[in-house]
Structures are given as structure tokens and as C-alpha cells.
């Protein structure tokens, strides 16, 4: 009874509004606006859906056996399995800790060193060959030294992760600090800003676009950095899980681990994008 009267009143109000076509227009426009904004939020799920469709089609068309390319359904089933028995969580936690450590270590080092190198050309000349070298040497070749010097615990993975993310951030810190408007430096000097104030009130905000760019690369690479560290020698973590899955020809499990990695990378990247939205609001 109540339901019916509600419907009735809705009908009445609708027909009433209809006569008032100006207001309708406004509603319509705001609805379209709303949809446009929503559409932006739909893009991410859309990208995901597109991916799933593409994947399934490759499986069908390519006719690959599951141990080469399992279907989405199989991977999902495996995901549910390893989620429910806690295996995935456990390995993921390990890798997350390494990533966190690597990010903290790598980003601080990159910022501090990048700042110093940006300020001093001769320090840059002296140190940059080492930095470049550290990036050109494959981690596996360093494995013996890493194991000897840092044991095989989590520290070595944190270090490998830090090493991986360090360089893109360092370069962007340098580019950013060197691009600071000289006139604003003069302004800050005339106000007798301390070195720290210069850094925090001028250099950081002015190079923020570049810092956030470096951060985007760094957080994305942090995932692979930790995993590569685990590849060298580990008995836990997602990199280890991938290795075990490969060794056991358990491709669905490997895909679950890979997607977890991708998920972590996407989450970190999204965080930076959100930070960018807030911090670069002034650019309109």
C-alpha cells in the first residue's frame, strides 16, 4: 500500500516537472556532467575489463596450454585458493616490508645525494661514474658479494630494491633542483632564508612536478627491485613464490604472484597520482 502511493507521487512529480522544461534542461546537463566525471572513474575498471577480454582471447586464439598461459578463470581459482590458505598474504607481507624499506632507504638517499650533486658540479663529476656503474651492473652478478656482506636476510633485498629505485629519483631531484627559477632564489636569499627553508619553501615545491615524476618511476620499480632481490636468494616473498611456481610448473600460481606484484605497483602508483592531484592543484 505504501509502495503504491510512493510510486504515484513519483509519477505525479515527474509529470509536473515535465511541464517545467527549463529546469529539466538544467537537470539533464548536470546529469551529463556527472556522467562525464564518473566516466573518468570508470576508465580504470574499463582498462581492467579490456585486459581480461584480451587475455581470454589470446588464450582462445593462441590455443596455449595452461602451463604456458592459463585462462583467467584458472588463475582466479588459484588466487582464491592461495588467499584462503593465507599463503599469498604471508609472502606478500614479506615483499611489502622489503618494498617499504627499499623505498625509505632509496628515496632518502636519492634526495640527499641528488640535492648535493645538484649543488656541486665537482661532486657530481666525482660521484656520478660510480652511480652509473651501480646501475649498469646486474644484481645477479653481485649476488655473492651481497650474500657475503649482508647475509641472505631481508636486508639484502631492501638494498637491491633501494638500488633499483634510487637512480630515477636521483636524476629527477637533480633536474628539479637545478630548474629552480634563479629570481626566486634571489628572493629567498634577500629574505635570508636558511638552507633548510630554501629547500623546503622553494626548492621542493618548485621541483615538485619532477619529484613526483621520479617518484612515479621509483615506486613502480620498487616492486621489481624487491623481487629481483628475492630471486637471488630467498626463502620467502613473492619473488620466491614466483621461483617456486616456475620450478613446479605451476603457471597459475606464478600468474597470481605476478598479478599481486602488479597490484602493489598500481596501488603505489595511484598513491603518487593522488598526491600529485593534491599537490599540483595550483597548476589548475
Amino acid at each position: 500500500m505504501i509502495e503504491r502511493s510512493d510510486r504515484l507521487s513519483a509519477y505525479v512529480s515527474a509529470s509536473h516537472s515535465f511541464t517545467n522544461s527549463g529546469r529539466w534542461c538544467v537537470y539533464l546537463r548536470s546529469a551529463i556532467n556527472f556522467m562525464r566525471r564518473q566516466w573518468e572513474y570508470l576508465l580504470l575498471p574499463l582498462a581492467l575489463a579490456l585486459f581480461l577480454v584480451l587475455w581470454q582471447s589470446i588464450v582462445w586464439i593462441g590455443g596455449y596450454p595452461p602451463f604456458i598461459l592459463p585462462s583467467p578463470g584458472r588463475v582466479y581459482a588459484k588466487l582464491v585458493g592461495v588467499l584462503s590458505d593465507g599463503l599469498l598474504w604471508w609472502h606478500m607481507r614479506i615483499t611489502l616490508i622489503e618494498i617499504a624499506g627499499g623505498l625509505v632507504l632509496g628515496l632518502t638517499t636519492a634526495t640527499v645525494l641528488g640535492y648535493l650533486l645538484a649543488k656541486s658540479r665537482w661532486l657530481e663529476r666525482l660521484v656520478s661514474p660510480y652511480i652509473v656503474a651501480s646501475q649498469a651492473v646486474p644484481v645477479v652478478a653481485l649476488a655473492p658479494l651481497l650474500v657475503i656482506w649482508f647475509r641472505s636476510g631481508q636486508l639484502s633485498k631492501v638494498l637491491v630494491c633501494a638500488l633499483t629505485i634510487f637512480f630515477p629519483m636521483l636524476v629527477n631531484v637533480m633536474v628539479g633542483i637545478r630548474s629552480v627559477e634563479p629570481d626566486l632564489v634571489d628572493l629567498m636569499r634577500s629574505l635570508r632564508a636558511t638552507r633548510w627553508q630554501m629547500f623546503i619553501l622553494l626548492e621542493v615545491p618548485s621541483s615538485l612536478p619532477m619529484l613526483l615524476g621520479g617518484l612515479k618511476v621509483s615506486v613502480t620499480l620498487s616492486v621489481i627491485g624487491a623481487v629481483v632481490g628475492e630471486f637471488v636468494a630467498a626463502d620467502r616473498g613473492l619473488g620466491f613464490l614466483i621461483n617456486v611456481a616456475r620450478g613446479h610448473f605451476d603457471t597459475p600460481l606464478m600468474f597470481v604472484a605476478l598479478f599481486t606484484l602488479v597490484g602493489i605497483a598500481l596501488a603505489l602508483y595511484l598513491l603518487v597520482v593522488i598526491a600529485e592531484g593534491v599537490l599540483l592543484r595550483w597548476r589548475g
Partner: protein, 251 residues
């Protein structure tokens, strides 16, 4: 009167492919405490360079600047500068830009905001407190810069064409405000301007410069009575002084 700021035999040579561009040559100047000095001269004659040297931002190629009789070897918080460009930070709102000097001095936020509100009223930017600089017109940006230079109440003000982008009326109003502030706070001002009327109206002394190398060609003392009101520009003494300055500028 005590000499507060003294420049002695300043030369500034910028490196250039042709071997060096002499922006200032053997420039000497002494400014007494509480004095209002205006500098006029052709475009590119070294006025901005002079202010940068006086502000301790640019070490001269030779010569020395003294503040309170002590050699000045870097910027000093007694000196406030308004640059020729507004030099606002685009990531800060109008209020945030204005309180920057206080933030650097570590003043607490409420007091800063109170003073900023006052200055915003002074420069006529009510309603734009939360605007970012890209939303300001040229003159509005310049007014923000003026407010920023006034907020920390420096003993010496170095102003590089502070009213260049302002319309005639706003400019007149700002002139009067500047005089009022200067008289009230007994500051010392060195101001670059392109407007001869403005120079004579405001200053105790007008310095006229020549181009490359930048040197002093004339110093015109302005002995008009103070406090001055806008009417003074119609007086004969004013016209005569303006004419003297005009004639002193090298064509």
C-alpha cells in the same frame, strides 16, 4: 644625518662574448638614515643591477657596499626588496605569498595573517586572498609583491619600479600610501622609477644614471616640504625640479 647605506666605487662587469659588459662603473652613493632616494635612467643603464648590489645579492666586480658602516657581503634581513618582476611563487596563494617573509622569520601564523589582511586591504586585493598567482592580472601580481616587501617592516626598502604595471590612479594611491608608511616607520628607501613626476614627488634626492657603463650623471636634491600632498605636483618648484631631472637624463 647618519649614513646608513654606502656604496663605494662599485663596478659590475658581466661576462659577455665581447669580453665583458660594464653594467656599473665606479658608482658611489651614500644614503642617510630615513632618506628617500629615487634612481632614474634609461632602460638597461644598470638600475636593477645597482639595487641587487645594494641588497647584497650580487657581489660587485670591484668596490664595496657598507651597511651601518660594516662591509655588506650578502643579503641582510634589514633590507627588503621589491624586484622588477613580481617574483611570486605560483604554488602559493596571495596570502601565502605575502606572509612568506614572516614565515621565514618564524613568526606565528595568526599574527602573520592579521598583518597580511591589513596589507591586502592597503593594496586593494580584498577577495583575492585565496587566489593563485596565475589568476591575477599583471598589476595585481605587482601589488602582491609590494605587500610582501612591506610585511616584515625592514629598515631599508629597495624598490625596483614597484608601480610600473599599475594604472595612473592606483599608482597615485600607492605613492601616497608609500609616503605615509615611510613617514610613519621612518624607513630608508631607494627606489627605481621611470616616472620623473613620481621620482620628484616621493624623494629627497633623485639620482640620474647614464647607460653602459652605468654612472651617476646628476644628483638632484628635492627640497619640497613634507608631508607632501598630491597638489604639490602643480607647484612651480615641482615643475622646475621635474624639468631639471628630465634634462639631466641622457638622450
Amino acid at each position: 644625518m647618519e649614513i646608513i647605506l654606502r656604496a663605494e666605487h662599485i663596478s659590475v662587469i658581466f661576462p659577455s662574448p665581447q669580453g665583458g659588459l660594464s653594467a656599473l662603473e665606479d658608482f658611489s652613493l651614500a644614503v642617510s638614515a630615513g632618506e628617500f632616494v629615487c634612481v632614474v635612467g634609461p632602460s638597461g643603464c644598470g638600475k636593477s643591477t645597482l639595487l641587487r648590489v645594494l641588497g647584497g645579492l650580487l657581489p660587485p666586480t670591484s668596490g664595496q657596499v657598507y651597511l651601518h658602516g660594516k662591509a655588506l657581503n650578502g643579503p641582510c634581513s634589514d633590507i627588503g626588496i621589491v624586484f622588477q618582476k613580481a617574483n611570486l611563487m605560483p604554488w602559493r596563494t596571495v596570502v601565502q605569498n605575502i606572509i612568506l617573509p614572516l614565515e621565514i622569520q618564524g613568526l606565528d601564523a595568526t599574527e602573520s595573517r592579521r598583518r597580511a589582511a591589513e596589507l591586502i586591504r592597503l593594496v586593494g586585493l580584498e577577495g583575492f586572498e585565496q587566489s593563485y598567482t596565475r589568476e591575477l592580472s599583471g598589476g595585481m601580481a605587482q601589488r602582491v609583491a609590494i605587500a610582501r616587501a612591506l610585511i616584515h617592516d625592514p629598515q631599508i626598502l629597495l624598490l625596483d619600479e614597484p608601480f610600473g604595471a599599475l594604472d595612473a590612479l592606483t599608482r597615485e594611491r600607492m605613492n601616497l600610501e608609500l609616503l605615509r608608511i615611510w613617514e610613519a616607520r621612518r624607513q630608508t628607501v631607494v627606489m627605481v622609477t621611470h616616472n620623473i613626476q613620481e621620482a620628484v614627488f616621493l624623494s629627497d634626492r633623485v639620482i640620474v644614471m647614464t647607460t653602459r657603463p652605468g654612472r651617476v650623471t646628476a644628483e638632484v636634491p628635492v627640497r619640497l616640504p613634507r608631508p607632501r600632498s598630491s597638489d604639490i605636483v602643480y607647484s612651480d618648484a615641482f615643475s622646475a625640479l621635474a624639468w631639471t631631472v628630465h634634462e639631466a637624463i641622457p638622450g
